[in-house]
Symmetry: C2
Subunit: 180 residues, 2 copies
Amino acid sequence: MAHITTSVEYGIHGLLWLVDNDGRALSSREIAELQGVSPSFLAKIFPKLEKAGIVMASEGVRGGYRLAMPANEISFLEIVDAIEGEKPLFDCQNVRERCALFSKGAPAWATDGHCAIHAVMLQAEKAMREALASHTLGDAFKRFSRKVPDSFNDELSRWLGERTASRTARVGKPARDAPT
Amino acid sequence: MAHITTSVEYGIHGLLWLVDNDGRALSSREIAELQGVSPSFLAKIFPKLEKAGIVMASEGVRGGYRLAMPANEISFLEIVDAIEGEKPLFDCQNVRERCALFSKGAPAWATDGHCAIHAVMLQAEKAMREALASHTLGDAFKRFSRKVPDSFNDELSRWLGERTASRTARVGKPARDAPT
């Protein structure tokens, strides 16, 4: 399995539907349907993004998820950390302690500070995290939206309008659509 | 599981015993015993390092593994790639193709070039790989050996001497020790 999993891919694609959308809240089911991914899978991802303060959820007939801050302030690193949690690139087992010649236990000179191997891995992880931190959801949205023809935006508005109409028509059963 | 696994940790620790050791060949069992790790696990790692041209194996009573090139020319990246094989940081599923609004299949504007999300992940992977490429086995050895007291080197020589004596004493059964 790749280090940055499909959950992150689904999460970021899902978040893109919340950028620059006139503040409209979308349920995770709507996001999943729009993106063509598993609604039950996405329903596990968005609560993590909410917990990390990336999205906020509201209830009611017009409820759902909205971005909790401007897209330009949400870095890829924050999204990855929110979804993946603590997951080091390299999980040092401190093999240096196990040398057969340390019959009386590993001496201090062998275990002080970071292992030289672990130190390199931490640098590689830092470089990876810095790259993720230097890109925002807003950047990705700009890159996507540059390619999108007007006809697509019209179709999207129609799709969302139909969903809103369907929600409001079901008076008395608002909770089914909101927020997940 | 971390992206860079325990196999890499064992492999690099194992390789360190082959640096600056007067060209002595060590079997993977000897390396494993010296390092206090599973011999059967290490026996799966060293053939990968041999295939990648990082170590070379020889047979016979004094056979085993030696470095195939100077330690300063073996980068962490080469070792990681040799052991882990092709393993991307992020395995793009091309979710962008699945939008519900693409009823007639994804249009070219949506699928041309790298996905904006994948592009960021590739940059993060590149940064990680560059960091790994900028460190060598020789660097790690220097960092370890700076801390090693003379008494440890004496003990190591004695341990290796005993192993060599044990190999040569078993005349007629050299293949058992060499090379793995």
